[in-house]
Amino acid sequence: MSFLGGRSNANTGSVNYDKIDMAVTELDTVTDFFNRMVSSCYNKCIGAKYPADGDLNKGESVCIDKCVAKYNDVQKKVGEKLQSRGAAAPAQNQSAFGSL
């Protein structure tokens, strides 16, 4: 009966779209995290100062390496904090939008 559903895949093998959706959410999350790290470390280590040339100098390179390590650590700490609060935040968001 699967060909009656909106997203059947009779001729391509069975695709579990919930699984795909979860993988896409994970991918988007990692990408967003990475992009914010690139931007934050750029602001911390390079900034809006006039660039002397197109290379990363020694100080900038060292700064970037430490910055990535610290950013990852901050993410872990924040994750632990959110978990210790029992994921209270999403439930709160729900109430903010009324009768969803």
């Binding site: 959706d21 959410t25 988007d28 999350t29 967003d32 995290f33 914010r36 934050s40 602001n43 911390k44 280590c45 060292v62 700064c63 390496d65 430490k66 910055c67 390590a69 610290k70 950013y71 650590d73 901050v74 993410q75 700490k77 924040v78 994750g79 904090k81 959110l82 609060r85 994921a87 209270a88 935040a89 999403p90 709160q92 968001n93 729900q94 109430s95 903010a96 939008f97 009324g98 009768s99 969803l100």
Partner: protein, 88 residues
């Protein structure tokens, strides 16, 4: 938001979408707190590990951001309820 005009199939569909969005909202809050607290707390990049001062800053900052976000949510919900109830 009011979904009373939705039939049961539409409500089921919408519930699934909302659940997915709540997960995404939570992940975005997570990314926002990480970014804000990193910017607030980390300004020394001579060492690789967080100093104890940075660690406690991150813990306080995250706690504070969550409480801030909850308080904004509560006030926002009240304002929406006021408006829906016609008292404003």
């Amino acid at each position: 938001m009011d979904f009373s005009s939705f039939n049961s199939a539409e409500q089921a569909h919408m519930t699934k979408i909302i659940e997915k969005k709540q997960m995404q909202d939570f992940l975005k809050l997570y990314a926002n707190i990480t970014e804000k607290c990193f910017i607030t707390c980390c300004n020394d990049f001579t060492s690789k590990a967080l100093s104890s001062k940075e660690e406690s800053c991150v813990a306080n900052c995250a706690e504070k951001f969550i409480k801030h976000s909850e308080r904004v949510g509560a006030r926002f919900a009240e304002a929406n309820a006021d408006q829906a109830g016609g008292s404003q």
